[in-house]
């Protein structure tokens, strides 16, 4: 899996998680496992996506699931590096930007939203 990697930098309350490479279906299972692990470990996940080189719908779905889980567990997720062309183009093409976040009261990680 040379073209996909999850790196974590620790801190007690928050943890920086950097995803590198392809956020696509061949790695979807690994991404899922990694995200579950991270979610169990910390209260605040700082997700860095700037090293991501490709993304597809399975990747986006996993990030949405993570976002929702953090909200339900009263944890926090902040995402950075998702405002580059790759993410903005793909989320626009697949119809992700929205007026209201999918979890009540939360801002959508794909732009727009909030109350």
């Amino acid at each position: 899996m040379a073209d996909f990697k999850v790196m974590q930098a620790n801190g007690n309350e928050s943890r920086v998680v950097t995803i590198c490479g392809k956020l696509t279906i061949p790695h979807a299972q690994d991404i899922k496992v990694a995200l579950i692990e991270v979610l169990a470990m910390t209260k605040h996940i700082e997700l860095d996506l700037k090293e991501v080189t490709d993304v597809d719908l399975t990747g986006i779905q996993l990030l949405c699931a993570l976002h929702r889980d953090t909200v339900n567990l009263k944890k926090k997720l902040s995402v950075s590096g998702n405002s580059n062309e790759l993410f903005s183009d793909f989320s626009a093409a697949s119809g992700f930007p929205r007026h209201i976040g999918c979890v009540a009261g939360e801002q959508c990680i794909w732009g727009g939203g909030g109350n």
Partner: protein
């Protein structure tokens, strides 16, 4: 497994090819019809897609070329021309050849494929550049249409129609909900969304509410569905085309939205209404939320703006619309299933057996005279009757599919002969047993060929005769009792009575001085020996004798009649029974044996006394209401021994418009006859076409009335010849 899929592709492909041919011929008649262009495009598109999926790469590549051209036609870049239709028809035939080659029943020449492709490209050249590369709607960059997506989306984007926001498009609400395993079969929903964007102004919202928590998610499944609002001038078919390959793998809902002209920003629907209309919020929930407030109707009534009866009326309208929509949806659900024809044949055979057993039961019940048994027998009789009608009905097909095949025949043949002929049809929805339709096709092809070849004149001759340059062949099918009447009527030159007569004399079919009515002369063309060819095939045709056609019709227990007026055209009428499995018949008795005659050709039954026979002075002629009708004494023909009853019965039948009587001892009555073949050994016995099992288990033979009459005629002619020889 793969073979099974390939088989099912071939089946689908032959249906698509038939559809393609019909659509092309219709398109030739109305080149402006965008719906027809859409039909041609979709047929090609599906052939290409399924072909590629099941390993028919040659077909996929070839149809891709044709589809590309038709996409340009669809977008108005290339006009529909005769050349285009010719090429596409040729392409259709080539694909058919490719399929047949795969089955080992034909060959195909790759040079022809190349030739057609080159010609099509030539036709399209020069007009393509005007309409390419128009990205529209929201900003989709080229990088999104990545190479990993299917070539389809790339192609379609390059030829996508430029959407002009100022032009009036129709707005559709589309919900696209793919199945969870959509990624597994290689489909990328985003590429479909991009195709939609290519059609017009498009807003896409991904719905994420079904995405489960991380622990429950199967990362390779798709939990998303999409709501799309698309304003386009391309029509609903173009939208459906986008989803053509995933239609079985998704739920797709396309609705036209009632957006007023132009102004969407003004008073569009309320949020609640939109949610309700989309099915995202139930009316009840909306009602509950709004329960603090009074209902709009009540408010309006209280304020005196609208009277209660008007509110009621509006509510009724609402309910009506809802019911209508529900009804339509349930109709859509009532789909059809595909069953192999053999299974149906087995069913019909079994029903046939059941009918026989039921007849025995009824007979036994009648003999025993027990009320309980009788009532059971009656119930079984009723149910068997319904079952029989239903089983036969399942095998009924509209004759229209055969008609469309003839359209092509007429087109090609008239081109070949330099004639202008138009075929019109009527009654394409008329239903006939599947087997009958199949066996009827070839004889009809020959009759139509004859009409065009020998009937309809060349345009110049027609003009000189004061007729329209274009001749017509009118084909109709209509139900008539338990048969279907098919007529082929042309407005050509009509039959030449004298020429037929001359030829018949020349061939020794009639005496030179024979007295014959017009009808009798015309029916000579059906006589064996009038023409020399032996076999009906769908490819040959010209030169094939009408007697072969007649034999084919006879084999279907049908009749053929002909009328003609010199200079005005010829009408051929073919009467065919609806089904070959079970017939209504007349049961008769000769000595101890029972026989069956098809009821459809029986006119009446009259008595024949010894006095009548004596009065005829040895000739087999009976006088019925002043008319002399020839009869055939079946007792003699079948050499039935025993005493002849004092009063016999003549069953008068009508064969090719001529009345012929058959003398029997006794007419028993009408009978439901389940036809059984006689097997190989007795297949060729003259005068008998099959057998049936009677209620008491006895076998009755089914008389081949036509053949019996023909044999009698021949014997008569031979006897006539003898007499002449003796006289000489």
């Amino acid at each position: 497994m793969i073979d099974k899929f390939r088989e099912s592709f071939k089946e689908e492909a032959s249906e698509l090819l038939a559809e393609l041919e019909t659509a092309l011929l219709d398109l030739e008649a109305s080149p402006e019809d965008t719906e027809l262009i859409g039909r041609v495009f979709r047929a090609m598109h599906t052939l290409k897609g399924s072909g590629a999926m099941f390993g028919f790469d040659d077909i996929a590549t070839f149809t891709h070329e044709v589809e590309t051209v038709f996409d340009l036609v669809r977008n108005g870049v290339i006009p529909v021309s005769r050349e285009l239709i010719n090429l596409t028809l040729a392409a259709r035939d080539q694909v058919k050849g490719m399929l047949q080659a795969d089955e080992g029943t034909g060959t195909w020449d790759s040079a022809v494929t190349t030739e057609i492709t080159v010609s099509l490209k030539k036709l399209a050249a020069g007009s393509i550049q005007a309409d390419v590369n128009c990205q529209t709607g929201t900003e989709v960059t080229n990088s999104q249409v990545s190479s990993s997506e299917s070539t389809l989306s790339g192609d379609e984007l390059t030829t996508a129609k430029q959407f002009d926001p100022s032009s009036e498009g129709v707005t559709y609400r589309i919900r696209f909900a793919p199945v969870e395993n959509i990624f597994m079969n290689g489909t990328n929903p985003v590429s479909l969304l991009n195709e939609l964007r290519g059609l017009g102004h498009c807003c896409v919202v991904a719905q994420t509410r079904n995405i489960p928590s991380l622990t429950k998610i199967n990362p390779e499944s798709c939990y998303l569905f999409w709501d799309v609002v698309l304003t386009t001038t391309c029509g609903i078919n173009a939208i459906q085309d986008v989803f053509i390959f995933v239609e079985d793998d998704c739920e797709l809902k396309i609705e036209q939205m009632q957006v007023g002209t132009g102004d969407i920003s003004g008073d569009y629907r309320k949020l609640g209404e939109i949610l309700v209309e989309r099915g995202d919020l139930s009316t009840e929930d909306l009602g509950k939320t709004l329960s603090g407030m009074k209902r709009i109707g009540e408010v309006l009534v209280e304020s005196g703006l609208v009277t209660p009866d008007r509110i009621n009326s509006a509510l009724t309208e609402q309910n009506h619309a809802k019911l209508l929509i529900k009804e339509r949806q349930s109709q859509e659900v009532a789909a059809s299933i595909r069953v192999p024809a053999e299974k149906l044949d087995i069913l019909v055979n079994l029903v046939g057996e059941l009918v026989t057993v039921q007849a025995r039961l009824s007979q036994t019940a009648a003999l025993k005279n027990e009320s309980i048994l009788t009532s059971i027998a009656e119930e079984v009789e009723r149910l068997t009757g319904e079952l029989r009608d239903n089983a036969l009905n399942i095998r009924m097909l509209p004759i229209g599919s055969t008609f469309s095949k003839f359209q092509r025949l007429v087109r090609d043949l008239s081109n070949e002969l330099g004639k202008e002929v138009e075929m019109t049809t009527e009654g394409a929805e008329t239903e006939l047993d599947k087997t009958v339709i199949e066996r009827l096709s070839d004889p009809l092809v020959h009759l139509i060929r004859n009409s065009i070849d020998h009937g309809v004149e060349l345009p110049e001759i027609r003009t000189a005769a004061g007729k329209d340059r274009k001749g017509t062949v009118h084909l109709t099918a209509v139900h008539s009792g338990d048969s279907v009447l098919i007529t082929i009527k042309d407005d050509g030159a009509g039959l030449d009575k004298d020429a037929i007569r001359r030829k018949a004399v020349e061939k020794g079919l009639i005496q030179e001085n024979a007295e014959m009515s017009e009808k009798e002369i015309y029916s000579l063309i059906f006589a064996p020996g009038f023409s020399t060819a032996q076999k009906v095939t769908s490819v040959s045709g010209r030169g094939v004798g009408m007697d072969v056609v007649k034999r084919a019709i006879d084999a279907l227990r049908g009749t053929i009649e002909l009328s003609s007026k010199r200079g005005n055209g010829t009408t051929i009428t073919v009467r065919i029974p609806l089904t070959l499995a079970i017939i209504e018949s007349l049961l008769v008795k000769i000595g101890d044996d029972r026989f069956v005659l098809p009821l459809s050709i029986v006119d009446e039954c009259v008595e024949l006394s010894r006095t009548d026979i004596a009065n005829a002075h040895g000739r087999n002629l009976a006088s019925v209401r002043g008319r002399l009708i020839p009869y055939i004494p079946l007792r003699e023909r079948f050499r039935v021994t025993g005493e002849v009853p004092d009063i016999q019965q003549i069953v008068i039948t009508r064969i090719d418009g001529i009345q012929v009587g058959f003398v029997v001892d006794h007419v028993i009555g009408e009978h439901q006859t389940v036809i059984k073949s006689l097997g190989k050994m007795y297949k060729n016995i003259e005068g008998i076409s099959g057998a049936t099992i009677l209620g008491d288990g006895d076998v009755a033979l089914i008389l081949d009335i036509q053949q019996l009459a023909r044999r009698e005629e021949l014997a008569e002619r031979l006897a006539g010849g003898h007499r002449e020889l003796l006289a000489a």
